[in-house]
Symmetry: C2
Subunit: 436 residues, 2 copies
Amino acid sequence: MTNNLKQSIGIGLMGLGVIGGQVARVLTDKAEILAEQVGCPLVLRKVKVLAQDLAKPQAMEMGPQLFTTDADEFFAEPEIDIVVEAIGGESPALEYLKRALSGGKHVVTANKEVIAKHGAELLALAQQHKVGLRYEASVGGGIPLIAPFQHDLVANKISGIYAIINGTTNYILTRMARDGVDFSSALSRAQELGYAEANPRDDVEGIDAAYKLAILASLAFQNQVRPEDIHCEGISRLSSRDFQYARELGFAIKLLAIAKQDDKSIEVRVHPVFIPEDSLLAKVDGVYNAILVEGDLVGKVLFHGQGAGALPTSSAVIADIVSAAQDIVLGVGSRARWKLEPGKVIKPMSEIETRYYLRLNIADRPGVLAQITKVLGDHQISISSVIQKEADSVAQTAEIVIMTHPAQEKAMQQALEELRHLTVVKEIGNFVRVEA
Amino acid sequence: MTNNLKQSIGIGLMGLGVIGGQVARVLTDKAEILAEQVGCPLVLRKVKVLAQDLAKPQAMEMGPQLFTTDADEFFAEPEIDIVVEAIGGESPALEYLKRALSGGKHVVTANKEVIAKHGAELLALAQQHKVGLRYEASVGGGIPLIAPFQHDLVANKISGIYAIINGTTNYILTRMARDGVDFSSALSRAQELGYAEANPRDDVEGIDAAYKLAILASLAFQNQVRPEDIHCEGISRLSSRDFQYARELGFAIKLLAIAKQDDKSIEVRVHPVFIPEDSLLAKVDGVYNAILVEGDLVGKVLFHGQGAGALPTSSAVIADIVSAAQDIVLGVGSRARWKLEPGKVIKPMSEIETRYYLRLNIADRPGVLAQITKVLGDHQISISSVIQKEADSVAQTAEIVIMTHPAQEKAMQQALEELRHLTVVKEIGNFVRVEA
């Protein structure tokens, strides 16, 4: 039923931080063009904040009557049609989202953690209450990434996703590659610039990327992929030497979030990879994000843009608000669904197959390379190239870099274990997977 | 009103060429997953073809009762809800589209020429008859490009579009850049590979790109931009020398479709440009397409993928069919609108401002450069760099390459006219605009 009686759409905003504040500004500044898109005005009815937010200049300007620090008061406001959650984190956001959906409110959220961990449950709740749950801003800032899977690529069977979806780590890796600095000084610089938080663990260890990958993979593969299903390695063990060798070999190093599916299983992992330096993903610099999607009809499509920040994220949040409001005006209830097909298993990390880059510190004497290549050969790992790098004549050690052909992770891990026990191997400098 | 009574959605397909044939195949092969998306099956009810198509193996397989060569018979079929036009070209497609919309059918088309020339009229007709007109496949094959402007970027004021939207010319330019071959041999190769048609005029002269730019600009700027509003230059006057100098100067040469707007005017043009070789657009190779969009909130977003071909185009057509079918099931009528705001003017080409690359063949004797730079200076064109290239001692000529600072097109054209009349200037080798 087209809701011709609707005079306005009421918005309830939760959170007045960087994202929430910007969303409130856009709702005011662009009120006219948004009303035109929807067919009636979008009116901010209530803003749930923390006590400390009340003193913010923006809050003062908007007028105290709009604000409450009390969730009960917020949810008691009858004129709210759409709840916009811009709090972030799991708690209390999850509880608020459930409360909003159960109360028959359409929901828009930018919260990757809640959607990654509880998306299936929340979408079921939305369907039950015939409302929409939208989360475009949870991945990739303003880059359209959720909508393509829900609409534009709907005819495709998606075989793979290859994504740079954490700007902090991409900034750090870009600096390490360009300036030859080590991880810790690149991290410090990122912190100075506000690209990395004081506690950078979630970004640096790949956890943030894993949340986003869980969302994308669940949507693309129609199977619930949980954050804990994702093999996750961060970037802190990369050294400037790895970047130097990568460059010599024609590769860039990126933290990739990778999801693939075949008929039986789903492969999901976040870790540093070597990628060919002439690939588009290798050109993604600084805090930018990019997502490469492979579908059976569309082939390879790449989306590139700013993956974070108040303005880009508000672009996605507002688009979701407009879409929810249009549905309300048109009388459309829930469209939300992660149609989850049971049956596919998550492929154990030990079973994945990739090429590998290995950097070893070895004793600099005859016969050592033969011992090392024998270990790899015993595990069916064949070598595509070996480069012996500078020797240290005092310590009588040398560094070698080995690139392998595709091998199984399990075999590689066993080989690494054996290599570690060879007396001629002084140190496993690093090993990094390679994606073509 | 939700149309709960709908047991199936009837599809009428016009055209069984490369695109139409592929759409028919996907409708059959993916019937189950499409039905799931829509909530009921999509059933092909009638296919309008030319007589020669009836003998195609695909037509034989699908069964003769589905086919008609008679438009009247096609439009008399009562069970068609959605008309899919895959004929291409202006006539008779335009007439068919009008007939379908006037008959209350939702329409999906891949026809850039009709949408570029008659989009506003057709969308008004769709609105009048409360049906949808969808045209995602008209630009950029399977890359989502129409949907982002209609939905995802709706909160943005779009300031610029920079697009490589013709695969044929991008293939030719890629070969010229990589292999150092001239235009005509790169074109021949493209024709051999089926990337260029026997009559390549529409692609090579930028006409195809101008159709697509007219669609994107109309949508992004909410102002009707017609193909004839677009300044259009092709790639045939580029020589291998230009590519050589571009590389030396740190640029790539691409055929860009450019649209910009300011408060008063819209600038739309298709022509070869120098772009910095480290920009993402410079990395777009072969038949790939890419579109860079600049919005006030989202910043720069880039979309990259296969811009043509049966499979990618069918991805977009099917997505539009599913979207139309969902609206039918939900009881939603027309959403189609190019909200056209009157008032903005198309900026005359003479008023645009860019940097320029100039290649001149000059007499090789003292004082010549002074004469040339004086002409440019007289027209307020300041020079950023001059390189004198190889001299021909027999002809006593030399080639010089000049890069200018930003200058007005009118000034540059007047300067070129004067340069042409200098006796020391043997030939204007080429001039190409530069985009940063």
